[in-house]
């Protein structure tokens, strides 16, 4: 129960920080994706279900705060959460660089999905390639860089994480 409450608090706080303090977190015009980082963390630590719900909760906050149609962030985060959860079952190492790499890939994937959804909604206003190159990739890189520190903090909050379900053959 406490773990679930802590999960809600952490996800809501991350979404609020990302939506209310974008300038504070911004470096060279790039903002880290804190909610995505949580999605990846819970995908690795608790599996794809927790990751998808994390994406849903965080996505709702982001969609509402950014005043876009509901589901915009939710869809991309849920898909990424499921994919990372599936991939994480194959991970056989806890090395921070691997997790950072996973966050980098997830960030790019989420950014591409978001941009595509945006393009489908507003085809005339969205520059897909430009957005991916100038926003999505730098944001994913920035998120990946700070991942080890955030994961250490999350490990401290949520304790011992679940053992990976994969096996070495």
């Amino acid at each position: 129960m406490l773990r679930n409450i802590a999960w809600v608090v952490v996800v809501v706080c991350a979404a609020l920080i990302q939506t209310t303090w974008p300038d504070f977190l911004k470096i060279q015009g790039v903002t880290p994706e804190l909610v995505l980082m949580l999605v990846v963390y819970f995908a690795i630590a608790s599996g794809e279900e927790r990751a998808m719900f994390t994406g849903t909760l965080g996505g709702i906050y982001q969609d509402v705060a950014s005043k876009v149609a509901l589901g915009h962030n939710i869809l991309s985060l849920v898909i990424v959460g499921y994919a990372v959860g599936r991939i994480s079952t194959r991970l056989v190492t806890d090395h921070p660089a691997v997790k950072a790499g996973l966050v980098l890939l997830a960030g790019v994937a989420q950014g591409v999905l978001y941009t595509l959804v945006d393009y489908l909604q507003h085809p005339k206003d969205t520059l897909v390639i430009t957005t991916i190159v100038s926003v999505v990739v730098p944001a994913a890189f920035y998120t990946a860089v700070i991942t080890p520190f955030v994961f250490i903090a999350l490990d401290w909050v949520f304790g011992e994480r679940k053992q990976p379900q994969g096996s070495v053959t």
């Binding site: 303090w21 849903t56 705060a65 149609a69 589901g71 915009h72 849920v78």
Partner: protein, 312 residues
């Protein structure tokens, strides 16, 4: 049963599909203005308020800190400028206070000159003060002559001993060249020689010597100029500070504390003409009745040692 089992086996995929489906529906229907959106907006806005407030406070704090550090040189320059302005202000205030004090003194001098209508007074400024000898900024060209009296509204200052073209020297009661005919105001007692003069050995400032042993002179008695002096009669010379006598001596002497401190003097008045009190009261001011303000006191024997008298 088969559907339930399949859903249980592929729970994650079911959740994914459900959430994706709902998201797509929401996106396609554009639920931005729905009741859910409004409720969520309210929840988000309420829960985000503390974060926004904290962000504002943090930004202000960080901005203040950066300003303080970044503008340190500017603040230092302002502090230096403030120091300079403060010193200028202090100088200006001191000058204003000095002017105010001078204004008060001149008003007092003016009031005194108005009340002493029987005297023709020339205001002078003290330009040098050395060992009881004053130099004033008026001389022969301005009608100043030796033996003229120099006074203030407080009393006697001294006597003009030498007049140059544009300056003159004034011997005060602190200088041995100054001798002023004086008497005790209370009972008009005079000394045998009738004068108050500077102390020869500077053990005290000035004295009234040769006082008869029978005469009543007390501490605090006011000593004023006598009618036979070249000063207007009744001007304060000083107060009796001590009365002394030696065993077997025929005379007593009194130490006099002068009424005017010449070392704290900036302006004074030279009495160039005076009208005798009785004539003034009887006839008013007439030019014919003026007399030169010279001493009527008898010439006293020279008390200087012979070496000093004959020295070149």
């Amino acid at each position: 049963m088969a559907i339930t089992r399949i859903m249980a086996e592929h729970r994650a995929e079911v959740i994914l599909g459900t959430l994706s489906f709902l998201s797509l529906v929401s996106l396609l229907s554009g639920t931005s203005a729905t009741f859910i959106q409004r409720g969520l907006t309210r929840v988000v806005s309420l829960s985000s308020y503390p974060f926004l407030a904290a962000r504002t406070s943090l930004e202000e704090g960080v901005g203040y800190t950066f300003d303080f550090v970044g503008r340190y040189d500017d603040l230092r320059e302002e502090a230096d400028e403030n120091k300079l302005l403060r010193s200028r202000l202090q100088t200006t205030l001191a000058r204003e206070e000095e002017l105010a004090a001078e204004n008060r003194r001149l008003r007092d001098v003016l009031d005194f000159a108005r009340t002493e209508a029987r005297l023709t007074l020339t205001p002078v400024r003290i330009i040098e003060n050395l060992r009881g000898m004053l130099t004033i900024d008026r001389g022969r060209m301005h009608g100043i002559k030796p033996r003229m009296a120099v006074i203030t509204e407080d009393g006697v200052v001294g006597i003009v001993t030498e007049a140059q073209d544009i300056t003159a020297s004034v011997a005060t009661l602190h200088h041995r060249d100054c001798r002023i005919a004086a008497m005790v105001h209370r009972n008009r007692i005079r000394a045998y020689d009738g004068v108050v003069k500077a102390s020869p050995d500077y053990s005290y400032i000035c004295s009234m010597e040769f006082i008869d042993m029978k005469n009543d002179v007390r501490l605090g008695d006011l000593v004023v100029t006598s009618p036979e002096s070249n000063f207007p009669a009744g001007l304060p010379v000083g107060t009796v500070d001590a009365v002394r006598e030696s065993a077997g001596a025929l005379w007593r002497w009194a130490e006099i504390k002068p009424a005017v401190d010449p070392y704290a003097l900036d302006e004074a008045l030279v009495v160039t003409r005076s009208v005798p009190e009785s004539t003034f009261l009887a006839n008013g001011v007439h030019r014919d009745t003026y007399r030169e303000a010279t001493s009527l006191a008898p010439t006293m024997p020279d008390e200087r040692p012979i070496q000093e008298r004959l020295a070149p």
